[in-house]
Symmetry: none
DNA sequence: CATGAATGAGAGTTCATTCAT
DNA sequence: CATGAATGAACTCTCATTCAT
């Protein structure tokens, strides 16, 4: 009898509206009005579905995390275990299908917001911890496949993660300095270089 | 006899005020009033010395760039040419004297602001290009010292730079995940690992 | 066979919802959403049964008036005519069965709303006039029973009414200053004191 | 050199702006914009001098309290101690010079706001407690002058206070029912009637 | 040079009311 | 009758910027 529930759909639309606007104007520049416009809804709708602007951002953080996860799962398909590390790097940095420039720009903005908003920081950390654990297990697989010591898998994982985050940052701010398609290759070389550099098991 | 110009001193005080506030509250959260307070001056003074808030930020970008440069010069003192690459990484990431957590937090915020403010982006790029050129020459020195091909010096330089920026980001958002004193060592290993991995010249 | 009308029930539920919420949050703080929640209905239902928020308030005014009337009737039962004045005061101020703290808080809020909403003011006046007429006749009874001049019955009635309203106000704002069970006794003393002070008839 | 401080003047102007608007439109209806207009300043000025709207209201509470106190002091001048109780009632209720219809309307609104704003409630209580103590001492004086027991001075004080507050309420909501100049006389009669009714000391 | 009061545009948020289902 | 999503106007509050002193 009542109007059918469409909350989940609306929430996604609004969250994607934030992503689109934020990629151009930053978090502060993403006004509720602009977000609503980008989502194709009236301004009041935003606060009907979210208690406040921060809540949209936090939902966006999880969403971007899940996008990477999804792309990684796709890319792993049919790959040997030792190549999953490369797949993870590609999932984050490779261009082409599934790459998402807006998400990258947002991710940089999320880093800055997490400086002052503890809740954002917490949400970011949840995603980062999950990715770091995944990365560690991928390093383990790669090291094991090459019969290398897995002693420094966490260090390598952290280095890879930092490199990925750094590429995001450079992509956003100084994309002209990075030749197209360069980043994924370089980070993969660094990662597998580190793997190879480990002593035999 | 005119009274001595204290304009330059005031400008520095204000700019450092921005750095201090921005490290806690982000760029948008750094109100003119808070900046003035941190600088120990009246709010009106800020706009006497700077046309607008953005101008302070741009001065801050150059200032942070010069801080790193200065620390690098200090650290190079007495080091062999091949170790200058390590000195650069330390200048950015090593803890202890000369390390500056506020500057790191600001740097992350500057990255986010450069998404929407072209002038900030340009200022950031000037500093980044300079650092990248320096890094490239440091890679060249390191490769040459080990009689390696310098063909991929730019790739290595970019990778190192990304790793440094990424560490900044992780430091700010998820410092708990990074053991103290870990970052500089890991990035140096990655850098020299890449150097060693190059073919002989 | 039409389904039984539950409109009247719903209206009461909603009106009581307003009373409950308004006692805690004031009239402006009583949002339609909160009222609906307190009434156990969906927000949309409220405007199905009432054209607007003000209409609920006006119904509430009459309702609270009738509550007092009802309690008065109950308390009069078996009392001598000269004691009906005391019963009226008790009906308003006595604690125990039939006392209604929420109604008192609402009544204070209604007074404030009547400053700006003419319709509310009119509704309040209707109730007040009725009570004042009743009070006047009760004073008449009390005076006549004591063979006193009834010349100032209206003054006494007004004084009693003011005292009652004032106790409401103090109860709401500074209940700590009023010992429990104190108010009804004090006002009754004042009322019968004034009755006694009148000249013999 | 700097612009001279005028904060105190501005704060008073704004507070009186609130009083003027609130007397017509209630507290919620007194928007910052209307308050500023009534005070003859730009909207932004309001929040330059007050952190928020509530702070203006709290200042107004103290101000109204001091208005009554001031009028009382004036009216006491040259009166016998036993008549000070009457002066207090006149200070609150007498018409003519020093009477302030806007203040009365605000006071009713303040009562309603104190239901939901604890800070307002606290401010109201501070004023009420001070007045109640004063009233008690005035009752004491009146009783002592007539050689009556002072045992119930607090009860009488409370009754008088309730009557005054109740008159405010009736004045605001149903002024037509109260003949002009009636209230002060009636309350004074009630007060001195109660004094006379006490047993000899 | 310095001060801090003033400005006013625009932000996030709330909410009475409407209405498609 | 009932639902709850949608609307958009209006609110309080913030703040970069200006400028009289």
């Amino acid at each position: 009898m009542a109007r059918p529930r469409n909350t989940d759909i609306r929430r996604q639309e609004i969250m994607r509206g934030l992503m689109a606007v934020m990629a151009e104007a930053g978090y502060e520049g993403a006004t509720i009005s602009l977000i609503a416009q980008a989502a194709g809804v009236a301004p009041g709708v935003v606060h009907y579905h979210f208690p406040n602007k921060q809540a949209i951002l936090i939902e966006l953080i999880d969403y971007i995390g899940s996008l990477v996860q999804f792309r990684f799962d796709e890319m792993c398909d049919g790959l040997a275990a030792e190549d999953h590390l490369g797949a993870f790097i590609d999932a984050n940095l490779a261009l082409g299908k599934g790459s998402n420039a807006a998400a990258v720009a947002c991710w940089v903005g999320i880093g800055a917001e997490s400086v002052k908003q503890p809740e954002v920081r917490a949400a970011y950390r949840r995603v980062a911890e999950k990715q770091l654990q995944l990365l560690e297990s991928l390093c383990d697989r790669a090291l094991t496949a090459k019969r290398k010591s897995t002693k420094h898998k966490r260090e390598i994982a952290l280095g890879v993660m930092a490199a990925i985050e750094g590429v995001f940052r450079l992509t956003v701010s100084v994309s002209e300095l990075i030749p197209r398609g360069f980043a994924a290759a370089t980070v993969k070389e660094m990662a597998y270089g580190a793997v190879s550099a480990q002593p035999e098991n």
